[in-house]
Symmetry: D2
Subunit: 360 residues, 4 copies
């Protein structure tokens, strides 16, 4: 059959059947669902209460940590994306426990991770063998493709929040994983080496070149300094959308702590009611201290110490602290991912003094 | 019920049912599928023959270009990802036709696009109103969020390959789209303005700052210069994996033409059989001229002028040109996406002189 | 003597004598000369006529090129800075001749250099052994600390303009020089290798990383392409201060050709009279073709083909072409030096339609 | 006279006279002095003793601070460069005193400055009106072209070390200076605003973009944190050439505190004798605490608390602390200047266990 013959119009119905069968479907029929006017997301705003999480992670203590399963973690699984085991489309978060005497075995992967310590002092994460000792509310990093294991030589369980880019890496088809041949990667650096080397604020070893492509060389951010910085900033400045908010930085570059994840800490002062806005980045919040509310697309979530909250992208959101004590929130976002391609957008809610109507 | 009471172990089965119901599933059961040892991908290597595509895009001429459907394009739909209407997980490609006298209406979106002209001279793409006139084998760009429409004032249809980051933007939940209120955005710049401004090779207007965050300010790369550059490079250097290969660059930065898509042109010289390698980036090839073969994970694809070939990530691949004429390939890759997060990996196939065994 | 005793005021005159003797002079007496309200410069605007230069460089042919003296160059020595053998405070320029059969011996230095070919075709500069063959009006580079020698195997002398950062490097106390043990560094690359590799405009070998810290990897910019780019730009845009002006770029970065020197080519179209401005950068111009005038701080310099003109920093300047043919100027500037520290400033002359009064 | 006639060789002597007169001197006669084999410098290694400086800056108190003179500063004037009123070729340092009740008037200039507090608590530097209150051993910044004045509302004189790039800016012909119309620029920000905003170490306000082209947005680095960082680093690492050394950084970029000046603090532990090296950067040291020696090109300089030491570029140097207490040194260097152009070089002294012979 020549091209000229083929070009004789078949019935349109036959034509559509033919091109679908040839793996050549018509864009004009599907474009509206492929290139949407606004971001489309399946994740839902969701609150996990500490009162629900805490007993269950304790119960999980009956399950041993073993090679293959690797870690004792309850996934904060977004109901809208539950088959993907993720918290927002780009961010995965979970709650991990290491009991006294346990070691979670050494492995490495192309996923990057943060840990935020919820409960317990004295556990450690070893990164390339270097132990970083944890205290409550410290932030720890395990950058991409670095060996890491976790241990607890104290007499109490240690519990922390994990944050990783698991679903991003999956959607990029870029997951690599390797177990270390032993349970623990031997240590060749002193304990807390990175803290002692890079923990001095705006100072770094004079002989170091300012470069590290897998994230911050500072592997642990101590709570005492973080809290002090919040107190200082509160005296001079604040954001209308987030009140007193700091982002943890890579001291060698001023950039985010990890190439794919940004970490924030914020203080909502007593009586504060922020204005609503929305942005193309998603977030997972953890309540460090205090209580308050977040209104997401008109739905009110009342949270207190220990709770977790998922914020999908492009959702209007505002925060309230109606108590008489400050509320402290830790959060992770996927801002570096959107910014890498110029896709970060932010919009302020301007009606009604910046406050959304509550949907009952 | 107190925490202590809850902490009494239920049967393990009950425990698993309880945590799943609480949106707190156990990582240790799912980790193997979430953090895989090697990239997992659903895309398949696939060849679309020009002899199959060409008559169908001509037949599609019976369907008018209308607002809503926007464009007359047949999607190169990967059978492994067919419900997503994408060619690889990050890259979408299609074949578009504009008939004499038609105008594809102006719109803009957060997706970035390239066009590679397959057939016909004299069509144009207008970017922010500036018309870039096409000749065969030219590469054109429509960067993110810039108004663009396409027209054809000649007497023959114009056909080109589209390449966009549609599925990447979808998986990042970051799609914005806006139709222009008129069919055409009025022109306020001379025709071929960007070519005349930035087309001079390693020269730019002396008063311009070297910055443009949405991609190259040069919107059209003429084939005559591209072909000459291939001929020049062939005299002095070549890659063992790709023979004589050039990447189109943003002349203001030396970086990729778009933040999410890189474009290549390569010449496989007569008799060349490259060594196999694999990388974490995917690609869509189009055969400009000549004929040859690509072996992907042991499967041989014989291609000729006009064909399209999808290469999923992390697949071994090597190229052959057994003919006596050079074969010319154009391709797009998602390399900038992987490199943005340090996830680019490449591995050479070292067994058997670098050549895969053919799987029948 | 205790500090208290010393603190008894001596006579002020004695005090000043004492602190000067102690190498502790008083800032308050000298500050006005150290931190001036406007840039202070000793260079003068100056014109070297080709009719003066050309016979002298020919006469210089009687002096052989020898190790130690290294090169047959007449320095364009600024009368205001003549003891420094420099053309402006940061830029040195000279006129070099290599006669048929001669070789200027291989050496390297931390100074970076450009060459602009004034007369003769077929000479070459070898950089790290790779020969770049010159034609009239080509621009060549010899980046910092790369071995280079020059030769001429034709039957006519080859004459070019040299541009280096000699006085900048001297004022930074950072000069290193090394003669090659032989007259010529052996060649291990094909002739014109960099041109064939990087000369294709906005294309580069796909396997090359976009990085080179000593300047452009493209070592020769051919006049034919440069002239075409000027013609193209003239159709769409121009600067009010410089008319049709292009800067040569490093194709791997979009930045200047060398870390310390920027190179420009500009066309003053017939009848053009640009507006005056001034900037903190200095320049050395060479007239490629045509004739015209430049007014510097009210002083008019009429120039024609082959002439050289020094422009000190922060001098008002404007260009005229009163002829009926285009005038073409090549120039070097120290813009990258000023920009490295945020010291680039530019100011437009707004009185009198942008034109300076002429001082007789 | 035709060119051919001119080309008849005159006597060589006449030729040289002729080209010198024509401002076209022969490079081959002067090249050796222009492009030297190694850096040539006129600065000398030099020590200013605190016992000499302190009484004189007190005596200078008899001279009022007045507009025009602007500041009460004794210049640390290098004897080898004394006519230039500079300490090394790129770096100027001085000792400034503000007496109780005085204000040094507001001005701005393209020179960048650091201040290191030697004596007295409670003085302030106001930058763009924002007061930064000083305590002993704090480092303060006044970036390029920002209004600044200094005051002292305490009852004791405040004395600090100034460090500026005065001679670099002069050699670049890029000095601009402007007095503020009033004695003091009015304050529109809270005291210590930058400290409270950026002083939190590896944290910054979450809404701030990481960019500032004139230097660090953190204008004061408190000694308490600096000293703690030194103590921490001492536990895990040290340089063979500088022992325990930190560089102050711009927290938004990880880069130097100012575009032209880098600041260091280092601790030489008791008994340490570093290995000698040399580099193309120069430095000015100030002894914060303790006593020790530095050997420069074989000449031994014994220093103690309060002293200043100039190190010219490319001089071998090593440090000793033979006491039983740590010695603390502050220093400024011009490293960012050299690195901007790829001119930083460093060389270790390998003979004799890394130690220079002492020249008597």
């Amino acid at each position: 059959m020549s091209i000229v013959e083929q070009n004789v119009s078949p019935s349109l119905e036959e034509f559509y059947a033919d091109i679908e069968a040839a793996n050549l479907p018509p864009l004009w029929k599907y474009l509206g669902g492929m290139i949407t006017r606004q971001p489309v997301y399946d994740a839902v705003p969701f609150l996990w209460r500490w009162s629900e999480v805490y007993p269950r992670i304790l119960q999980a203590g009956q399950v041993p940590i073993e090679r293959g399963g690797e870690r004792r973690v309850l996934i904060l699984n977004n109901p809208g994306l539950s088959h993907l085991y993720t918290t927002t489309h780009n961010l995965y978060a979970g709650v991990q426990m290491v009991k006294p005497g346990e070691v979670a075995p050494a492995h490495r992967h192309t996923q990057s991770a943060i840990r935020f310590v919820i409960k317990g002092n004295g556990g450690y994460t070893a990164v390339e063998g270097e132990r970083c000792y944890m205290e409550e509310y410290d932030l720890l990093l395990t950058p991409r493709w670095q060996w890491h294991d976790h241990g607890n030589q104290t007499t109490e369980p240690v519990i922390w929040m994990d944050g990783l880019d698991i679903n991003l890496i999956r959607s990029l088809n870029a997951s690599f994983f390797e177990p270390y041949p032993e349970q623990v990667r031997p240590s060749d650096k002193p304990d807390n080496n990175s803290l002692k080397t890079y923990g001095g604020g705006a100072l770094r070893p004079a002989w170091q070149k300012p470069y590290n492509d897998s994230g911050s060389p500072l592997l642990i951010y101590k709570w005492a300094k973080t809290y002090e910085a919040l107190q200082q900033l509160a005296q001079v400045d604040a954001s209308p959308f987030d009140d007193v908010a700091l982002t943890y930085t890579n001291p060698l570059t001023g950039g985010p702590v990890l190439p794919t994840i940004s970490a924030w800490v914020q203080m909502l002062r007593p009586g504060v009611h922020t204005q609503a806005h929305r942005h193309t980045t998603s977030a997972v919040y953890h309540v460090i201290e205090g209580a308050g509310s977040t209104i997401i697309n008109g739905q009110r979530f009342d949270w207190q110490k220990g709770d977790f909250l998922a914020l999908p992208p492009w959702c209007w959101h505002e925060h309230l602290n109606t108590s008489s004590s400050p509320a402290l929130l830790f959060s992770i976002t996927d801002t570096p991912v959107l910014e890498a391609f110029g896709l970060y957008r932010e919009e302020a809610y301007t009606d009604n003094g910046g406050h959304q109507p509550i949907v009952d």
